[in-house]
């Protein structure tokens, strides 16, 4: 479903102002786009939010920034909680206690800490059981809310507080976990990666994820101002650079078939364009040997998905 920005501009926000997210936060932009997708697709959502930046900043008691039914649960069990909500909804519907026929999708949102590390087992369980849920992992590549500790989504050689880039150990020495591949391995009907700059691609994919019956999965790159240590207004332009340099390939997986998004670049830009303004990579940029390894890691991931999608 194509989106005409001029027609929808000014529509009432479902995630209202007054929340305490950092100025210029990429996650806030993502949530805006999520609600535009849900409203234009005509699907109502019920949200379970794992602990994380999005949760603590949007629900400072006794206030809430959400205008949809929203539930906060612990770090590890948002997918389990939303599975329960989903079962309860269909049970009440079968008993005739819920009479309206509107389309509802049950959404669980978690950051990369909740999705990649702490909540991985409950995410796996929910995907395997086949609930009618959408799981959204907004990936800002470390535990940003608690002070920038490394997570398994942190990229190679990034400087974090628990894996600092020093003389002996160059930051995080492991590559990032491929959660997209893990989600796809559950045999779910739909999964996609998105980036906040490519809003048309993002909204179309979320609309699809909301309308497909069964468990679906969205992985979004959402730049973090203090954690990536970057200029305040650059969240969206960095998300753009991540796609253009091949750091974040935009792919879709639908019923066993991988699709290469048309928003991906024809020609990759040098990776420095993505790294330069982030101080977490400042020391990496001064080390040509490690930078070369970083590049190889990015390219091999990019080529892997290109190959899966059958793109030359």
């Amino acid at each position: 479903m194509a989106i005409n920005l001029k027609q929808i501009a000014g529509m009432e926000a479902a995630y209202v102002k007054g929340h305490r997210m950092c100025a210029g936060c990429g996650v806030a932009v993502f949530v805006r786009e999520l609600f535009i997708a849900s409203k234009t697709a005509g699907v109502d959502v019920v949200i379970a939010n794992a602990t994380g930046c999005l949760e603590v900043t949007s629900s400072v008691y006794p206030e809430s920034a959400w205008k949809y039914p929203w539930l906060h649960v612990a770090f590890e069990n948002a997918p389990a909680a939303i599975s329960g909500v989903e079962r309860a909804y269909y049970a009440l519907k079968a008993k005739g206690k819920i009479k309206d026929d509107r389309k509802v999708k049950f959404v669980a949102i978690g950051g990369d800490g909740a999705s990649f590390d702490i909540g991985l087992q409950s995410l796996s369980g929910a995907l395997e059981r086949g609930h009618n849920i959408l799981y959204i992992a907004y990936d800002n590549e470390a535990y940003m809310n608690t002070g920038y500790q490394r997570s398994s989504a942190t990229p190679l050689y990034a400087d974090t507080t628990t894996a600092p880039f020093g003389k002996k150990i160059p930051g995080k020495t492991q590559t990032r976990k491929d959660l997209f591949a893990i989600a796809v391995a559950h045999g779910i009907p739909y999964a996609a990666t998105v980036s906040i700059y490519h809003w048309n691609d993002l909204i179309t994919k979320i609309q699809k994820a909301l309308t497909v019956e069964g468990p679906t999965f969205i992985l979004s790159l959402t730049p973090c101002i203090p954690g990536w240590n970057m200029p305040v207004g650059d969240a969206v332009s960095l998300a753009k650079a991540a796609v253009e340099t091949g750091y974040w390939p935009l792919v879709e997986y639908e019923n066993g078939v991988y699709k290469w998004s048309s928003a991906n670049p024809k020609q990759l830009k040098p990776i420095e364009e993505f790294l330069a303004s982030q101080k977490r990579f400042a020391k990496l940029l001064k080390n040509p040997e490690l930078l070369e390894k970083f590049k190889q890691d990015v390219i091999s991931n990019y080529e892997k998905y290109k190959k899966l999608c059958g793109v030359a």
Partner: protein
């Protein structure tokens, strides 16, 4: 064998906290701002890219026209100014 000497008749669950939706409007975040976005309406083409990207929903839009900013909530992040294709938004220091 385990002996149960008392049957549990009822127990109460702590109901937890709840908040009404959309109440964060009470918290005006405009005070965070050190730079203020200013619109040059002559350059603006009403493409609404700023409206889409504003993390704080602080772009005022009416009937397809970009009218300005909600300074009660704008945190001055300059995202709108950076994404504007016609450079119609400039950031000026708050005095």
């Amino acid at each position: 064998m385990l002996k149960v000497d008392k049957e549990i008749v009822s127990f109460s669950i702590n109901p937890g906290g709840y908040a009404k939706g959309g109440t964060s409007l009470e918290n005006k975040t405009g005070g965070w701002r050190s730079f203020r976005p200013v619109l040059n309406k002559e350059k603006c083409v009403n493409c609404m890219i700023c409206w889409l990207n504003c993390p704080d929903d602080s772009i005022v839009v009416k009937d397809g026209q970009m009218l300005g900013f909600d300074y009660d909530y704008c945190k001055g992040c300059s995202l709108c100014s950076n994404v504007c294709p016609t450079k119609a938004i400039s950031m000026v220091p708050e005095v």
